[in-house]
């Protein structure tokens, strides 16, 4: 009786160690191989000129109307960002559509995923509302639907008409660079960033023209030219998230 017992115990020990090591190696290997967006094709980016932005909030209202967002949620808040001289500076903050997005890494059901053109999409049918992405986002760009939004949208129709379905209660939502306008515009042969119908609503409505949108992979697009001509910065670039929203600083002269 003693002999088989010893063998079984040894066997079990070796198996346990082996299985754990194998599983651990798999996990580590996969954790390193995260999926940034492929280069080539289109890479949408947004440029916001802080020397022009006056904090009017038209982009907030247009976004709310076109994406049918509840008044309690803002996908694109306009924040106060200090002063230059005696002029207050504002910073509109859409989703950064990071190329190394923490929200995509942590979503347990892959509801948050990359599109080949760089937009971080939300699959609202798949989201289980665990809010891990909300905790993981360094920019606070995600909002959870604590309540169902059933009332009429106060921003409609003055600021636009809804182009996407309303999200149900219990899912996390965020800005998606108005992919619905981009896709439709491309199908109709328009250029996003140039023709208003193919460009995100916030970019179109800005009364002072502080926002720009376009394809980074196209050297002739307005965003590529702007970023070449002027110094820009991105929020918390040190974290390595690779945001795709660039800001042009307001200086003493330009403000």
């Amino acid at each position: 009786m003693s002999q088989p017992k010893m063998n079984r115990r040894d066997f079990l020990k070796i198996t346990a160690v082996g299985v754990t090591a194998l599983a651990g190696a798999q996990v580590i290997r996969r954790a390193e191989a995260s999926e940034p967006t492929p280069s080539g094709g289109r890479q949408w980016a947004m440029v916001i000129d802080q020397s022009l932005c006056n904090g009017c909030g038209y982009c907030v209202m247009a976004c709310r109307a076109h994406n049918d967002i509840s008044p309690e949620i803002t996908w694109n808040p306009v924040l106060e960002a200090g002063q230059v001289g005696d002029k207050k500076i504002y910073l509109p903050r859409p989703c950064m559509q990071c190329s190394q997005a923490p929200c995509v890494d942590v979503c347990p059901v892959k509801a948050s995923h990359y599109r080949p053109d760089g937009i971080v999409m939300m699959n609202y049918e798949r989201c289980i509302g665990c809010r891990y992405c909300e905790v993981a986002c360094p920019y606070g760009a995600r909002s959870f639907n604590w309540k169902a939004f059933t009332d009429p949208n106060p921003a409609v129709p003055e600021w636009g008409q809804p182009e996407v379905a309303r999200r149900p209660r219990g899912v996390v939502e965020k800005c998606a660079f108005c992919y619905q306008r981009i896709d439709r515009g491309l199908a109709l042969g328009m250029t996003p960033g140039v023709e208003p119908d193919a460009t995100p609503a916030c970019v179109v409505v800005c009364p002072v023209g502080a926002r720009f949108f376009g394809d980074l992979n196209d050297p002739g697009s307005n965003v590529s030219k702007l970023l070449k001509a002027r110094t820009s910065y991105r929020l918390r670039a040190d974290m390595g998230t690779g945001p795709r929203v660039y800001y042009l600083s307001a200086t003493e002269e330009s403000a």
Binding site: L12, A16, L79, V109, K110, I128, Y139, R169, G170, R236
Partner: protein, 418 residues
């Protein structure tokens, strides 16, 4: 006069059941309100999306860690004499994981989509890995608990063949222990890594959070098992324990606490050097700020240091009362650690505007609905364990399968009421 007579006829067991029943009823009511009205009935916000329920979920999984550690000890390290304690731990594990799943069901925004994590995979996500491991481990625990359920008298009478088959599963316990060990090592530490991999939260972003989670889980899980066994043995004759076994386990817990304290010490000390926005404020919240009572009293003094001393010092370890007190303190410390970890990282609001990151603070206190539903889940756990002690002989120092026949004869005698 009449009322007093009625109360005196109420046995402690019945009073306990009624008390738990009231709390469970309140919890069920609160849970239904959550399913009906959504998460707006909680005090959770977009800044603090995880609160009391996540803490209960993490703590339930942590204190269920006695199952994998004791089963590993019994079946993989050959310490066969601890098998009765492993049996209790397995049952507690089953209850704990079911409590965690109940809490999670309430906490996710779409409970009707709870199955998505099993069907839609994101292999990079730690939370997915946790969900898969918990689902698989629950199956393992269920299989490991089948021999326990086979002890149910009604089952043995009604379906003796099924009970026999369930009891036979004990033969596979070593294999289940291996699988359980692997799964548990993965998800107990992954639960810590869920916090530890978030660059956005500097206070959480450390590699040792996962290590702290698994060590505290092992300590807390074994403590709850021993404490529950000892408490049941004091309260009812249906629970019988071998005190020498429990004393050995308590000794092991004491040394686990030493290891835990070592890691906690260096973890905290390393954060005091060099100001880092978000991280330094987090430590200050714990050591000097609103969480300082939880940290110093709940986590360190009562959670680690006092029980460590009590469990390593023989006179207090062998004393029933002091040992039970120490074990309860360990469990409390484990819960406090998870609450503090969750809330401290979320309370700090780090600005992402250009320039030096400005740190703001937000606040959270659970709402009544959260407290009631959480209490309901805990009461369910207590009820399940109590029923296990009474009907399934969960706390029993005799070997389960070898002495089945002998125990059958003993139970044929008229049972005395407790």
């Amino acid at each position: 006069m009449k009322i007093r007579l009625k109360l005196s006829k109420l046995s402690p067991w019945l009073a306990w059941l009624i008390g738990l029943g009231v709390v469970i009823a309140a919890g069920v009511g609160a849970g239904l309100i959550v399913f009906w009205k959504g998460l707006s009935v909680t005090n959770l916000t977009d800044l603090i999306p995880w609160g009391l329920w996540i803490t209960i979920d993490l703590s339930s999984i942590a204190v269920s860690a006695g199952a994998f550690s004791l089963c590993a000890a019994v079946y993989l390290l050959g310490l066969k004499r601890f098998q009765p304690v492993a049996r209790t731990a397995t049952f507690i594990g089953l209850i704990g994981y079911s409590m965690a799943l109940l809490t999670l069901l309430m906490d996710i925004g779409r409970p009707d989509r709870f199955w998505h994590a099993v069907v839609y995979w994101n292999k990079h996500s730690l939370l997915w890995e946790v969900t898969m491991c918990i689902t698989l481990y629950l199956a393992v625990l269920a299989l490991e608990s089948m021999p326990i359920f086979a002890q149910f008298e009604w089952l043995k009478m009604r379906w003796p063949k099924l009970a026999g088959k369930m009891s036979h599963l004990h033969h596979y316990a070593p294999y289940l222990a291996v699988v359980g060990l692997g799964l548990s090592m993965l998800h107990q530490s992954s639960l810590g890594a869920v916090y530890g991999v978030l660059k956005a939260r500097p206070f959480w972003y450390r590699p040792d959070v996962s290590v702290l989670f698994i060590i505290s889980a092992v300590a807390g899980g074994m403590s709850l098992t021993v404490f529950a066994s000892m408490l049941s043995a004091r309260l009812t004759r249906r629970a019988r324990v071998d005190d020498s076994l429990l004393e050995r386990v308590a000794y092991f817990i004491g040394w686990t606490l030493v290891l835990y304290l070592y890691f906690r010490f260096w973890d905290a000390l390393s954060m005091t050097y060099t100001y880092q926005p978000g991280r330094t404020e987090g430590l200050q919240l714990l050591t000097r700020g609103p969480l300082s009572f939880n940290f110093w009293a709940g986590e360190i003094l009562l959670g680690i240091v006092a029980p460590m001393v009590l469990l390593l010092y023989r006179p207090t370890r062998t004393s029933q009362l002091w040992r039970m007190l120490a074990l309860l303190m360990v469990v409390g410390g484990v819960v406090a650690y998870r609450w503090d970890t969750n809330i401290s990282g979320l309370m700090i609001v780090l600005s992402y505007l250009p320039g030096e990151p400005i740190v703001g603070y937000t606040h959270y206190f659970p709402s009544l609905i959260e407290v009631l539903s959480g209490a309901g889940v805990v009461a369910y756990g207590l009820l399940a364990f109590s029923l296990g002690v009474r009907y399934l002989k969960v706390v029993n120092c005799q070997e389960a399968e070898e002495k089945v026949d002998v125990r059958e004869k003993r139970l044929a005698e008229p049972a005395t009421t407790d």
